[in-house]
Homo-oligomer: 421 residues x 2
């Protein structure tokens, strides 16, 4: 073959080297076993979904980033094509939520109710390539379908925080809010309902631009000063309240349903009563979460080591209805798998099983008997669970052992051929 092939992975995607892979596998193991203890069962959907489903509006801006798959055979009519969707019939999934909802819609009769699903899988987004962000990355979601009660939220938060604790994270925060609290607050200040989304997009910037910034942007967007002032002071009052949740819910009065308010308080008190001290649960009335499909509680993981969100989720009671016409309550929590792996990798963490291994060095020209002896000894050690590498001995044995030591091999056995008689 005259022309050399391309050694690099495609733009924006990456090869995973053994050291990172061992960490990924270790984290996957903890995630799977912990979520299994909480009654979640793992499922999988194809990486390819129909373009129609991917463009269902639940994907938000991700719908602009789809890797589209070309039609094949007779269906591909290049001459007649006028736009992209004439040429493509599928796409790589950009998240695990749309596929989950399709899956549940198709298989609900075969699944328990409530259904607690764990999904770990790659998703693809044709984002502009940038440092630390890749076009293929792993998502890790748990979802509970068919449970309208706040037990879903409680279990999702406990399962997620237990998992993060077992991976080794301390001192993180779970921020919690409810879309209905957000709406109640906007309503109580007199903002019109059709402007809520616009207002929340501005409010979402609070952590970056502060209260004054939000006030300025709301004014700039044309909202009356008295409403904006009332809105901002509501957040100030809550900051100063001894019990912000109780204060907020009382202050909202008729602008929030009593059952919603009680349910929200119960989530907080139940998690507080059960949780370990490796994280704080914090009511954050400025938490918005971007996706338009959320209908109730929303939450986010704030990780000081990362300086930002490391996962999140919430309740989305209306998405199953898009597939079946019949609504099913649903709630999910996604942890930032790639960020967790990056944090561990940068901290110098070594996954268990990558150290303290044994290497057998076999000189070339070993007799059949000696070869068999070495292989049998390796077999016996492996049967006891030990990692044993069997390799040919190099001429420079010292250098070979130095290299193996760097790879985590600490014990060596050497098999030399018999001296000529």
């Amino acid at each position: 073959m005259a022309q050399k092939l391309n050694k690099k992975p495609v733009t924006g995607m990456k090869d995973i080297l053994p050291e990172e892979m061992a960490i990924r596998d270790y984290v996957c193991g903890i995630i799977k076993s912990t979520y299994a203890e909480f009654g979640f069962t793992q499922i999988e959907t194809p990486c390819v979904e129909s373009l129609e489903n991917l463009n269902c509006k639940a994907g938000g801006d991700n719908e602009k980033l789809i890797f589209k798959i070309m039609k094949r055979g007779e269906k591909l009519k290049i001459g007649e094509a006028r736009e992209e969707n004439d040429l493509a019939d599928g796409g790589l999934r950009y998240d695990l939520t749309v596929p989950l909802v399709r899956y549940y819609s198709a298989h609900a009769a075969e699944l328990p109710s409530p259904f607690k699903a764990l999904q770990m899988g790659n998703v693809w987004r044709a984002d502009r390539p940038q440092r630390g962000r890749y076009r293929q990355f792993m998502q890790c979601d748990i979802d509970i379908l068919g449970d309208a009660s706040n037990l879903a939220e409680i279990e999702l938060i406990l399962a997620t925080t237990t998992t993060l604790g077992r991976i080794g994270f301390k001192n993180f925060e779970i921020r919690i809010n409810d879309r209905r609290i957000l709406k109640g607050m906007a309503a109580s200040c007199g903002f019109p309902e059709d402007k809520y989304d616009e207002i929340f997009i501005i409010l979402d910037k609070m952590d970056k631009i502060g209260k004054d910034g939000v006030r300025a942007e709301l004014a700039e967007a044309g909202y009356e000063t008295d409403k904006v002032d009332r809105y901002i002071s509501l957040f100030e009052e809550m900051e100063q309240a001894a019990d912000p949740v109780a204060y907020c819910l009382e202050r909202l009065g008729d602008h929030i349903d009593t059952e919603v308010a009680e349910g929200f308080k119960e989530i907080i008190s139940s998690v507080e009563a059960t949780k370990g001290d490796h994280f704080k649960l914090v009511f954050d009335p400025t938490l918005v979460r971007g996706m338009s499909y959320y209908t109730g509680t929303i939450f986010e993981i704030a990780m000081p080591e990362f300086g930002g969100s490391c996962g999140g989720g919430g309740r989305y009671d209306r998405m199953v209805g898009m597939f079946t016409g019949q609504e099913v309550p649903a709630c999910g929590f996604s942890i930032g798998f790639e960020r967790i792996v990056l944090l561990l990798l940068e901290s110098g963490f070594k996954a268990p099983g990558t150290e303290n291994k044994t290497a057998y060095l076999l000189e070339k020209g070993l007799s059949s008997d000696k070869m068999g002896e070495a292989l049998k000894a390796a077999e016996a050690e492996r049967a006891g669970g030990r990692q044993v590498l069997v390799v040919r001995m190099n001429k420079n044995r010292k250098f070979q052992k130095e290299q193996l030591t760097a790879q985590g091999y600490t014990e060596f056995k050497e098999y030399f051929k018999e001296a000529l008689k």
Copy 2:
């Protein structure tokens, strides 16, 4: 949303239900831990590869089955496009071998030598949909790069057969041959070298059409009767020989390199000396293996339960050279992951951890204290590794418990709200 979305997965791909997923995960676990004991390290490459690499001829017929990914943004020029490759720049990988070789070419300096890689990942082929064959399926490959010696073959066979044994398979066969034996046999009968591939394609049908069928097809293809007769009788002689390997290698004489012959015998004697009795190692001079990239030893798993091949592999010493211009010896073994899962699923196998679980049923309206008590009890059981499902109690509690029993829940704890005073 007026129009309902499509509930089915895309054509030819499948959703994986919890029962199958548990088996897949169980098999993956055994594969990973066993191959780790043999010194294999896991790696991963992106699911998308450049079309140029996918069309490098090493993919054989699979190159006709690529799911192509459309160019994006300004690069997509629909009006100017004349053929498929004007519109697409990437494709979903159809195997794990081409990506592995690209990966090794890119990262050899950062990897140990020899490099023992384990890959488990999905591949995609736009095959005509048919029962039991899907367009997305998992492949599971181990490969050793940078080891020219037959220790690579020995370790690959021992690792694969140990893994299959631990999954629970008994009485299977590993069939082994060598492309250089195949060539030597053809040469010793006087067939011209440029016809070997055609002859091997006919020979490959031996298990289906028998010796008479092969004889007839070779005659039909125009080969001289005396050569064909000599070829067929060679196979007959080997069948009757006490030691077919020794007979074959001796019979080939100058048509096979002494070192190759000795190396082949050593693979067989070493595996025989080490292996358990759960499988047979069988020299099969009619074994061809389709892929043109094989250069030496080839092997295949024959599983009686499946009535066919359940994986295979061989030596391919010239593929790395396609990327780097410099050849690196390579040898790999792939196990038929999907077939193994199917066999376990059909046998009624239940994955560990899917039975003997505990469910807590919480009546609606439980006080905060009782709720906290239940959650704390669940937390304690989970910390001990037990699977505990916490769910709302349904009105029809008996039916709920029946359903949970069917899902593997054998213990129940019920939390009722306090009676009104």
